[in-house]
Amino acid sequence: MTAVRDDDRILQEVADALRARFGDAVLGTASAKDGLIVRLDPSVLRAALLFLKEEQGFNALLDIIALDRLKTAPAGPRFEILYQLYRFPAGQRLRLSIEAAEGREIDSAQPVYKSADWAEREAYDMFGIRFAGHPDLRRIYLPDEFEGFPLRKDFPLEGTKRGL
């Protein structure tokens, strides 16, 4: 098992491999306090996930995190979607980040990682982000007849009359 302090260097190599493979579709990298973030163009998302899984050994997708940037970055694409990947047994974690304008369909990660199924349903339920190729994209928490997407920044905290 590699030491934790080597993780930064190893993840940098992964980012370089992604860049060599996908060129300009890798928009950049950033380091957060918990590790490396690779920003990708959404068009190569599924190919990049497949590359990371099959050739780089990132065999688990732990979570998908969606964010609404209506208030923090109103000029850019509205949503940001993060993919939290894990490489077992080496233990490195990598975060992919893509931007999605409102109404844009994002390729589903479910054909690559089965664990993406519910995570994408949750992102759809809360933000209304649609994932192309997802086998069963329905709301997961809220009832089907619920109107609106509650984690969007313009959805009022106290709820709406058309909700519940």
């Binding site: 077992f88 089965k114 199924d117 984690l151 905290l157």
Partner: protein, 364 residues
């Protein structure tokens, strides 16, 4: 008998679903063909609520997620927020956190073994497990004034120091536990009925478990050596000597053995922490108005139910821009169908029990 596929509904009100969970089952006579879990009955919109609360106010709200292990929820959140804000927790505070969360793991696993045995029909074990868990809850009440939703941690450390009376109380609790574990083992480990219900049931391949994002004792029972306390240590876990029990057969019996051994390891960790409890402060100075510079972080811990993580995006104010919780029960429940397919209908309850889900955490 002729092939006849029928659909069966289980829940959302059903004693063995451990909350309000609905399962849509497709069965052919006694054999399970498919399961679709339906969740959301307990959805309280926690993530939306958190965006309107200050970081300090969010800590007690996390108690309400996995209410069987509330201290673990606290820990995952405060660690993420502290790491994002650059708060350094004093060593004594870290050790007390380890003591509290390992006690919480013991309480959670004791409740689990009781529920699990009760689901299969061995009601006696529930009483043994709960009696022992009660001694731990008594300590929490003594320390923090609450038993279930303890709110035992604060940003920067812990709210109270451990007094000599507290440590004596913990040692008395720990001294009582090995005998209980032995009783539980004598009731279950060699028990023929228990083994018939658990050995070879609920199998999942290690590769599939990773593919479905399974974490926690169920993943380790499949032989995958994944414990965040070892690989990404937090709270000075690197100071303690403990092993990570692994299973081989990835069935219900191995999940039981793994949790039983984890309890023994937890007892040892708490003892080590008590023996070597450093002097000094137990809480760093954290301002009442806790503003966090813009940034993001994902931090996870090894909770009793699996990997529990918090993603926080901060915006410079004392309230977060967005928090996403990676709840182990939610992700783990996804693999239920795979584990149940081809097993008998009566085993569904047992397999569900073996995952140790809590609906408060699934529905958020």
């Amino acid at each position: 008998m002729a092939f006849e596929e029928i659909e069966l509904n289980m829940g959302p009100q059903h004693p063995s679903t451990h909350g309000v969970l609905r399962l849509k089952l497709r069965v052919d006579n006694e054999v399970v063909l498919g399961i679709e879990p339906v969740v959301g009955y307990l959805h309280r919109g926690m993530e939306k609520l958190w965006e309107s609360q200050t970081y300090h106010q969010i800590v007690p709200l996390t108690d309400r997620l996995d209410y069987i292990a509330s201290v673990s929820n606290n820990l995952a959140f405060v660690l993420a927020a502290e790491k994002l804000a650059g708060v350094e927790v004093p060593k004594r505070g870290q050790y007390i956190r380890v003591i509290l969360t390992e006690l919480q793991r013991l309480a959670s696993h004791l409740a689990w073994v009781g529920f699990m045995a009760n689901d299969i029909g061995a009601g006696t074990v529930l009483l043994y497990g709960f009696e022992a868990r009660e001694t731990i809850l008594d300590f929490f009440e003594d320390y923090a004034g609450a038993r279930l939703t303890v709110h035992a941690l604060r940003l920067g450390g812990v709210p109270y120091d451990l007094t000599p009376e507290n440590t004596a109380h913990i040692r008395a609790v720990l001294d009582g536990l090995p005998a209980v574990l032995k009783d539980i083992e004598r009731l279950l480990t060699g028990n023929r009925i228990w083994k018939q219900r658990t050995v070879g049931v609920g199998f999942i391949k290690a590769d599939d478990a990773l593919e479905y994002g399974l974490t926690g004792p169920a993943l380790r029972a499949a032989g995958v050596d994944w414990d965040i306390r070892k690989r990404h240590p937090y709270c000075s876990y690197e100071d303690f000597d403990f092993s990570v029990p692994l299973g081989r057969n990835s069935d219900l019996y191995d999940r039981y053995l793994v949790r039983l051994e984890e309890m023994r390891q937890s007892i040892s960790i708490v003892r080590q922490a008590l023996d070597r409890l450093p002097e000094g402060d137990f809480r760093a100075k954290v301002p009442r108005v806790f503003k966090v510079a813009p940034g993001e972080i994902f931090h996870s811990i090894e909770a009793p139910k699996g990997e529990l993580g918090f993603y926080i995006r901060s915006n410079g104010t004392d309230k977060p821009e967005r928090i996403k919780m990676k709840s182990p029960s939610f992700i783990n429940l996804q693999s239920l169908e795979l584990m149940c397919k081809g097993n008998l209908f009566a085993d569904v309850v047992a397999i569900l029990g073996s995952l140790d889900i809590v609906l408060g955490e699934i529905d958020k």
